[in-house]
Symmetry: C2
Subunit: 311 residues, 2 copies
Amino acid sequence: MRAPPLFASSLRASVASVGEEALLRSIRRWLGRASPRPPAGIGDDCAVLIPARGRELLTIDPVVHGVHFDGRVPARAVGAKLFRRNLSDIAAMGGRPRAAVVALALDCRVSLAWLAEFYRGLARESRRHGVPVVGGDVARLDGSLVATLAMTGECPGRALTRAGSRPGDWLYVTGSLGRSLATGHHHAFEPRLAEGAWLARRGEVRAMMDVSDGLAKDLGAMTPRGASPAIYGAMLPRRGEASVREALCDGEDYELLFSVAAGAGRASLEKAWRRAFPRTRLTCIGRFARAGAVPPDALNLGDFRGYEHLR
Amino acid sequence: MRAPPLFASSLRASVASVGEEALLRSIRRWLGRASPRPPAGIGDDCAVLIPARGRELLTIDPVVHGVHFDGRVPARAVGAKLFRRNLSDIAAMGGRPRAAVVALALDCRVSLAWLAEFYRGLARESRRHGVPVVGGDVARLDGSLVATLAMTGECPGRALTRAGSRPGDWLYVTGSLGRSLATGHHHAFEPRLAEGAWLARRGEVRAMMDVSDGLAKDLGAMTPRGASPAIYGAMLPRRGEASVREALCDGEDYELLFSVAAGAGRASLEKAWRRAFPRTRLTCIGRFARAGAVPPDALNLGDFRGYEHLR
């Protein structure tokens, strides 16, 4: 089956042919079991939810036509990507996702077939992770499509933030890095929810984030005052044919980056990891050195730039 | 002072001139005290919040250039409108707003001065209502601007939904209806938060929603099986010069519509209302008749259509 293009070739096949109310009915049908009935689901002014346990998490991320996807990405994968981008943010705090709301802004010439596939992709991720789509909005936007998803989650225990690393801490990354666009990883990736929750329970893990704008750029957000990352090209887990530069700069890796207290037993962490996640690669890529004391053989991260969203 | 236009007249005055990191720093500066530091605010993968008390509410609404605003609406009012649209959804459940996240998708030619005013408008509403902006995202979008806000709230007591009305119930509306665009009400309105929370505590109030797509259309969402709304043109509270048709169809009223049990003392409700909200108009516009038993002098709502989002 050929994947439907974003814009319909005829009025009859477009959103404009059905009008708002019929479209909302279709969206509910496409979401199916992913969308509960109101008041817990779509259909009232707000969704009504049972509150989070522990700490509540809240995040928001869009997919924009021409930026996060183009005609080469099937509509179903675009819906899945939107859901997964937000799941990855919840994973990066060590949290559990709870519920999602989706606002769609789209040109009236968007194809109904494309939209059906998009919502089916969204619904599949929603069901797989047990995270219902509880509300939404549809608005007109000339010439493009922007779908924005907000997700709430919870941390029954500790929420792992980007802050808290110290000079000397080891740096780890899950999976592999680089060439996300070329390999389709940017929409097919698996959010590291189980891994993130596991790491939040390990006391020796100090700070965590997801790598989405490229390691070289993202590392800056986790680097504490008085420290500099000392990481090594040879140690970077690279995706397929990715070069060191691609592993550092490409973006959209959606892997976890975390720091581990210098005094902790690295071997016991790595052994426990292999038992818990035998299929998820874990790599020590270096450590936080004291500022001004980065070893000369470490990468000079100033030479590498991450993904720039506004160029 | 002339209000800045959305698109800058020179590259130097546009978003493209600063790049993402400087823009994010500016956004934090424009938000000021409206945006707490992470982990409770902008700067981590998710915001970390204290959970809701009672029931949690979650909603999402955008403002889209060319649809929800145009060059005649000052940027500051656009930011305020985005915040207020979501507050109105929380108000419609009788809830208290808690926190907001904002995703911005914009063309690189958007003017920095416009954006500064937009965020200042958002920040002012945030501070006024004590609802911090705790997270966000910025992405590129060619040719337009879409800002999407998701808001979480709480209902310590009952959440008033659209369901629960019965034939015979009285229908009430706050404020006045119609000509929202012509009068600037569509961005200057005051969300009915105090009124909504008060109504949720009154046992005789059965169901509630906000009127945003025009009363004629929105009434359908609150009408129970076996009933039809019997409302009267002469009783509609009209904004300024609004005609009955404009009061029924214009949309963007952001007023509360609610039903009251037939057996309840209407006079005592109205008296208590005047004491609590002496400056907010409250009007009984009719009642839910049994289906097929709508009085002949009531409006035939089939003759009126509300706002259609996708034409």
